[in-house]
């Protein structure tokens, strides 16, 4: 696990990003449990998602696909983000 910390975005990271960039408070356990639910379940809007994408791009110094906002659920989103990070690693 430790080897991948720098290259993977975890549920905890996502919960922290949602809080900081979009003001959405969500328990990471609940986010994990319901990661197949739509963003609106957690109160995150499209601009909030855009902010999270921008933050991840800055943090990891890489570009994410333009269609990131099409990811409807946290699970889809993390799969795409971590897929890109794996390729880049």
């Amino acid at each position: 696990m430790t080897d991948q910390v720098d290259h993977q975005v975890t549920i905890d990271d996502l919960a922290e990003l949602m809080k900081r960039t979009a003001g959405v408070s969500v328990d990471p356990l609940i986010l994990e449990e319901e990661s197949g639910s739509g963003w609106d379940t957690f109160g995150l809007d499209s601009l909030g998602l855009l902010g999270i994408v921008a933050e991840l791009e800055k943090r990891h110094g890489m570009g994410l696909p333009e269609q990131m906002e099409r990811c409807k659920t946290p699970a889809d989103f993390l799969a795409v983000v971590n897929g890109v990070l794996m390729k880049g690693a």
Binding site: A22, G23, L47, G48, L50, G51, A54, E57, K58
Partner: protein, 422 residues
Amino acid sequence: MSRQRPRRAVVTGLGVVTPHGIGTDVFWKTVKEGGSSLAPVGKEGCDHLPLRIAGEVRDFDADALIEGTFLVQTDRFTHFAMAATQLALDDAGFGRADIDSPYSVGVFTAAGSGGGEFGQRELQKLWGQGPRHVGPYQSIAWFYAASTGQISIRNGFKGPCGVVAGDEAGGLDALAHAAHAVRRGTDAVVVGATEAPLAPYSIVCQLGYPELSRNDDPQRAYRPFTTAACGFVPAEGGAMLVVEEERAARERGADPRATLAGHAATFTGASRWADSRSGLARAISTALTEADCRPEDVDIVFADALGVPEADEAEALALTDALGPHARRVPVTAPKTGMGRAYCAAPVLDVATAVLAMEHGTIPPTPNVFDICHHVDLVVGRARAAELRTALVLSRGLMGFNSALVLRQGSVPPPERRSASV
């Protein structure tokens, strides 16, 4: 058309966020006593700017009043608007149960300064760190329209919504839009204006106004209608009102506190203060006609009171032009000299004050002003007891907009005449 009784727009709730404090109780207490909350500008990053005195809202805890999702995407002026809206809804006793349909409640706001604090922060990131560091909410937070949108979203109000960008006088124009929406069939409208123009960026934007007071004494910086007038002091804060159709208000058990009886607006050009005389006089006359009131029905005037000699003179003359001999007798007041001018929010705060003044039978005084050099009966020093049934609120903007609004106490029709449909 049917012979139904005309729909009247009445005020049922007030919410204020002001340099005097938050909520109408503390606000009215200070206003009535002629208190002043003008003070040296205390905002971070403003020390070096030539604006010394302002009316700042202190002890406003946005985190305690507004959810995180709304906080991160909005500027301070919208925080004020959301907080004032909640206060106004509570004041009106207007809850979820009172809403038949989300489409029966509208929102109108006016804004003149926009989200300067939020905008400055993001622009600093843009030039300091690069485009990728600008957050997406910059696209909505600093627009004039932000408060209407966020109030609508936060409360689920889907009725007619609008934003007035019409200079300071736009605050009164927003109330007129709300009254029209009510007359056309909307049961309730949340309406008003809030401003937060005291971030460094926003202050710099105002430094070009020759009307801005640069005096450094809180007691001398804003003294309209005197020979010592040296401009106006800016302020932040504002007011939101709940305006309802009279019958709808009564049906849910709310008392009409005042009727929005008449309004008119004119334009006479930026900083052409002598010309504002005719524009303001025309606005007053037209608003009185719409309210079916005669000049002598006016019991109190809330003056624009810019604090620029030429503008003060034009306002005094406009009152004479529009009210005739009654202009010498009618009490005039400008409580804003104790708070500063919060741009679009200034006349809305005057409307809120007018409602409270009519309810209390008390004319609040004009703080810091003595030795009036114009022919107006300006109430200074102490509050004056008076029976107030009709109030006239005036507003002018630095860009040349003039507006007048007539309020009637409760829902009583104009004196000695049948109420006309307005």
